[in-house]
Each structure stands twice: as C-alpha cells, then as structure tokens.
C-alpha cells in the first residue's frame, strides 16, 4: 500500500495550512473570547473551496477522499478548533445524504453545501438519548394516508453543533410505533432521517450552550413543534435512520480525530517554540531534560495518533469491513492524545500557559470536547471491543 500522501493530498494540505496560518490563526483568540460563530472564517473556507472537499464532483464538490478532508480539518484545527469544526460538521451532517440520499436530493442540496452557501447540522442526540441513540423520543408521524404523505415532527434535540447557524438539519426521529420497542432488532428500526429546513414553521433554536471549549462553534438545543416535512425530505427508507446514523459516524469520527490531532500539533508547536525561547537559570528551558522529554513524548504521541488517523481514513475509504473499528480507534487515540498533549503544553509554559496571553489554555479547553462528542471515549471502546469479540 502507498504509505505517503499523494501529490494532490500534500498540495491541498499545504494550501489549507498557508490559508489557515495567515488568515485564521490571527482570529482564533478573539473567536474563543467572543464565543461568536466566525462567519468570516466560514466565508474564507467557502471562497477557497475548502468546504467543497467532502462533496462529489458531480454536485459541485472537489470529490476529496476522507483522508484529504481529515488533512484539511487537521490543519485548520492546528490554529483554531472552532474553525476546523466548520468543515468537520459540514461533512458529518452531509453524510446521511451522501450515504442514503437519492440523486434528486443530492442535486437539490449538495451544490449549495459544497459552495458553502448553506450550512448543515447533524441532529441525533437528545437530552435523554446520548450514548443510547435508539432511546430517542423525537417523533415523526405521517400527516395523512399513503406512502408519499408529509410528516409531522415533534420533539427536541440537544448538543447540536452549529445547530443555530445551519440552514439544513439532518434530524433523526422515531417513526415506529411505541409497541415495536421490545427487541434489540426492533429498537434499531425505530428511527428515520429527515432534512429539516430552518425556515419550516415549528422549528426553533431553543438556546445556545455556554461551553468550556470550541466556544465559537454554537452548540444548540433545537425544538420541533409540529414541523411539517415533505416526504421528499426523508433520507433513506423509513426505519433506516439508526443504520444511517451509525454508518455516518463510522465515516465522521475520523474528522473529529483529525481535529484532535490538529489541536495536539498546535499545542506542541507553541510549547516547543516557547521552550527554546524561555530562559531560566541562564539557559533555554528546552535544555533541561525534564522539559525536553515532555516535548519528545508530545511529538511522538501526536505523530502516533496522526498515523493511526491516516491509516483509518485510508481503510474506511477503501471500504474496509471493520470501518467502525478503525473509526472508533482513531478517535479514541487522537482524543486522548489531544487532551494529554495540550495539558502538557500548559505545563511546559508554566504560569504563562494558564493565562490567555498564549493559546495553549484555549487548546486544552478545546481538546476536551474531542473525548466527548461523536461518541464518548467509553463508547469508542465499546465499539472496538465489540468488533474484537465478534470475531471469536
């Protein structure tokens, strides 16, 4: 197998890096401080085709493979995790359409999404249904008889990344009767997926959370009160929602792993630069073995997480049967690495790492989310262990 990036992948990565260093890095601290969605960064990513990476060429995208999308998310997250998430979420929330949408649906929505004219959010989690996805209570009922009838959506979704700024929302709702919830198999056929458009009557943004990290990325609670959805907005078959959600996460978790690797790399670079400049006892602190060892471990761990991510993305792109395992493993390792490396970066900077004069405290706060969303680290371990024991 090829164990290097292709020329195209390296060229796209480098282009995103230059754009990011010049245009996004100077904004990162302010984005965190203001906790406002960076529309200017969204425009920048759109105008340079970065948001078009995950979409097929036939629908106005660049047709980038998963690894290329991850390279871009990594580079952006190196300087601003909030900005990296704009691309990661655009990819995540478009996956239901990519995996299960009809050609007509792709024609209808992908060109706007690829051009960044529209943003899309992924609404799976509910207040009482986090790790236990199938416990969702948001419900869609047919508005009338017949297979083509509209749907009426009622319920709410919580912790929806970019839910308050998205034009489209991929919503997962129960379409089965309550009586069907008895067996595990039936539990996994209760959900269906719908595209809600923000202007549909009955849709509302209930509130936006105050968060520890990724503060510029609005995390919203969304309300659906009798939202009338045309059947043409249903993605995939009735009852296919759980399957679509799981297949989506198999492909999207590497995006979060890429965000985590980027955060770790950014913190490592700040720590290494600081350690060579900061003098104590008459010499740069990087000369002290305890600091040098920390930096070496941070670099080695970040590179290990990166290589697992690249391998996972390559395997998933190639259609590996154990995509769930690769996807869970790369997010598990990358998320824990980001947390550890950013914590160590703060340690290397000492008191200066704890104040907002340097970006590492922000990176440490940003890192935490990568251990939580798109499945907690505990869920990743569950997925990996299930794949392991199922083979025996």
């Amino acid at each position: 197998m090829a164990y290097r990036l292709t020329d195209d992948q390296a060229a796209l990565r480098d282009a995103v890096r230059v754009l990011t260093d010049d245009r996004i890095a100077p904004r990162a601290a302010e984005i965190d401080r203001s906790a406002e969605f960076p529309w200017d960064v969204k425009e920048l990513l759109a105008s340079h085709d970065v948001l078009s990476l995950p979409f097929p060429e036939a629908y106005g995208g660049l047709g980038g493979d998963l690894l290329t999308v991850c390279l871009a998310v990594e580079q952006i997250s190196r300087v601003c995790a909030t900005s990296g998430l704009i691309l990661a979420v655009q990819e995540l929330a478009s996956l239901p359409l990519l995996l299960a949408g009809s050609d007509e649906q792709k024609q209808r929505w992908f060109p706007d999404l690829a051009a960044g004219r529209k943003l899309i959010a992924f609404a799976l989690t509910e207040a009482e249904a986090g790790s236990d996805v199938a416990a969702a209570r948001t419900r869609a009922r047919r508005a009338g008889p017949g297979d083509g009838a509209d749907w009426i959506l009622d319920g709410s979704k919580r912790f929806i990344s970019q839910g308050s700024v998205a034009d489209l929302i991929a919503v997962f709702a129960v379409t089965a009767d309550d009586a069907d919830g008895a067996s595990e198999t039936q539990r996994h056929k209760r959900l269906s997926c719908f595209i809600v458009e923000k202007d549909m009557p009955g849709f509302s943004v209930e509130r936006v959370e105050h968060k520890m990290g990724i503060r510029g990325s609005p995390t919203a609670e969304l309300g659906f009160r009798g939202v009338r959805i045309p059947d043409a907005n249903r993605v995939g078959a009735v009852g296919e929602g759980f399957s679509i959600a799981m297949r989506t996460l198999d492909r999207s978790r590497p995006g979060i792993a890429a965000q985590a690797v980027g955060i770790a790399q950014g913190a490592l670079e700040v720590a290494a630069a600081y350690a060579t400049e900061r003098k104590q006892f008459g010499r740069p602190i990087a000369d002290f073995q305890m600091i040098a060892a920390m930096l070496a471990d941070m670099d080695a761990q970040t590179e290990a997480a990166r290589q697992l991510l690249y391998k996972a993305a390559t395997e998933i792109d190639a259609g590996a049967a154990d995509a769930s395992r690769w996807s869970a493993m790369c997010k598990l390792v990358a998320g824990d690495t980001a947390m550890r490396v950013t914590t160590d970066a703060v340690q290397v900077l000492g008191g200066y790492g704890y104040i907002d004069e340097f970006p590492v405290e922000r990176m440490m706060r940003d890192a935490k989310i990568t251990q939580l969303y798109e499945g907690t680290q505990q869920i990743q371990r569950l997925v990996i262990a299930r794949a392991l024991t199922a083979r025996r």
């Binding site: 796209l12 282009a15 340079h48 085709d49 660049l62």
Partner: protein, 263 residues
C-alpha cells in the same frame, strides 16, 4: 487580452536556510524549498485581475532550473492558464543579460498584449531583467506601476508610475512591458479547485536550443559578472523597540539620540 507574466522560482526566504555554495558562490538552490518570487506574485495578481475585467488569459514564462515546474504549478493554481519554462544546464549561473536574452527570445515566439514582471527577485535582487527584456524586444517599458489600465479598443495602456513625489501617468501603445509593484494589491491564495485544476494545465518545457536567442552567447559560461567572494553581514547590535504612544515614543527617541550626541 493575453498577458504574459515573467515568474522566477526563488528560495523561500521564510525558511531562513538560504546559503551560497562555497565552491562557486552561487545560490544553493537545493538547500531550501523554492517558492514563486513574491514580487512576481503581485504581477500575477495584477494580471489575473486585468483578465477578469477585460477577458483573456494569463500565461507564465520562466527561465529556471529543472525543478521549477513544481513551483510554477503554484502560480498556475492562482489562475494562470499555462506556462513555458526554459531550462537548460548551460543556463546555470547566467547573468542578468543572459536571462533577459533568453526571456526575450522566448517571448518572440508568442502573441501577447502585455508583459508583466515583478520589480526584482528576492534572490538576485538586480531588478534589471524586465528593462532588458523590454529593450531587446523594443517594447515600451513602464516601471513601478501602482495602477494599470489597459484600453484594448485603443490598443494602449495607461500606468500610474510611482515617483518620489507621488505618481506620473504614462501611456504607451500595446504590446508593452509593465513592472508591477505591491501597490497593485495583495496576491490571492490559490483555491483548492485552482490547485486541482493546475495539475492538468499545460506547462511546456523548452531547452536553450528551442529558443531563438540568435547569434549571441548566453548562460553561465558567457556571464559578464563573477562573484569573487561572499561574507555574512556582521550581527546587529541589540535592538530597542519602543511601543509607547507616539508622543511618549518620540520623547524617548529624542532622548536616545541626544544621549549619543547624534542630535
């Protein structure tokens, strides 16, 4: 309209690793990654804006080493349509006259309305190649342009030329050669689609024998200048930076100069 932009790959000054070879005092181009000369990017940006406004296309012409195509792809990614690279082992070590002769000979075989060039290159820094090319081709030479306004219908171009007291307005018939400045506007970042499209754009490579330089000697062997030696500048003394408001900063600067009896 068709605009030719002269571009040169130069060592990336941001890398901090530029150095001369110890045996012949020539730039060690293998030591540092190459980038498009920054002033050429301003010329390219100006050319792209002009073709966006007036129609037409931008083509690149370069004389450089054999690794130049990778760098020229970056200029193609910004939006140039195609490029021609003259590369030949015998051209290594060329002086500015040789370079101007080769570029002029390359342009002789092409059709164009305007030639745009950067003010100078970050490696050689001579800044005379564009004037040499214009002279050899008999083209009007409009330097230090802060504004370029072609009039394709009248077949003229008007340029605001930066002068010590402001600017002069010059007009010349097309085709003409214009030296761009940074006042024309920041170069764009290539879009990702631009990068992908650049992979399939035509980049023609020519050897010296493919270029009609005529009955003159060019290249390293014909160089009229020679570098006899090179020394690094002495390290600068400690720099004091004053960041206070203007009034306070001015007072400190006056005190600093007065202490040293400079004023």
């Amino acid at each position: 309209m068709r605009i030719v932009v002269l571009v040169k790959p130069v060592p990336d000054t941001a890398s901090g690793g530029e150095r001369l070879r110890l045996d012949d005092w020539r730039l060690d181009r293998a030591a540092v990654p190459a980038v498009v000369n920054a002033n050429d990017e301003y010329a390219l940006e100006a050319a792209l804006k002009l073709t966006e406004a007036h129609g037409g296309d931008v083509v690149l012409v370069s004389m450089a080493g054999s690794s130049a195509p990778e760098t020229m792809r970056k200029a193609l990614a910004m939006g140039a349509a195609s490029g021609t690279l003259v590369t030949d082992d015998s051209l290594g070590g060329s002086d500015t006259i040789s370079t101007a002769r080769v570029l002029a000979a390359t342009l002789r075989g092409m059709e164009y309305d305007l030639v745009l060039a950067g003010a100078d290159t970050s490696d050689g820094g001579a800044g005379v190649v564009p004037a040499g090319v214009a002279t050899l081709l008999g083209l009007p030479y409009l330097s230090y342009a802060a504004k370029i306004e072609p009039n394709p219908a009248a077949q003229t171009v008007r340029v605001n030329r930066i002068s010590p007291t402001g600017y002069e307005v010059l007009e010349a018939p097309l085709p003409a050669l214009v030296v761009a400045t940074q006042a024309l506007g920041e170069p764009r970042y290539p879009s990702l689609k631009g990068i992908m499209a650049a992979r399939s754009k035509t980049l023609e490579t020519k050897a010296l024998r493919d270029v009609p330089v005529g009955d003159v000697a060019v290249g390293g062997a014909a160089a009229t200048t020679a570098v006899l030696g090179s020394e690094a500048p002495p390290p600068r003394a400690a720099t004091r930076v004053i960041r206070d408001p203007a009034d306070e900063a001015a007072r400190q600067v006056v005190d600093f100069l007065a202490e040293r009896r400079i004023i």
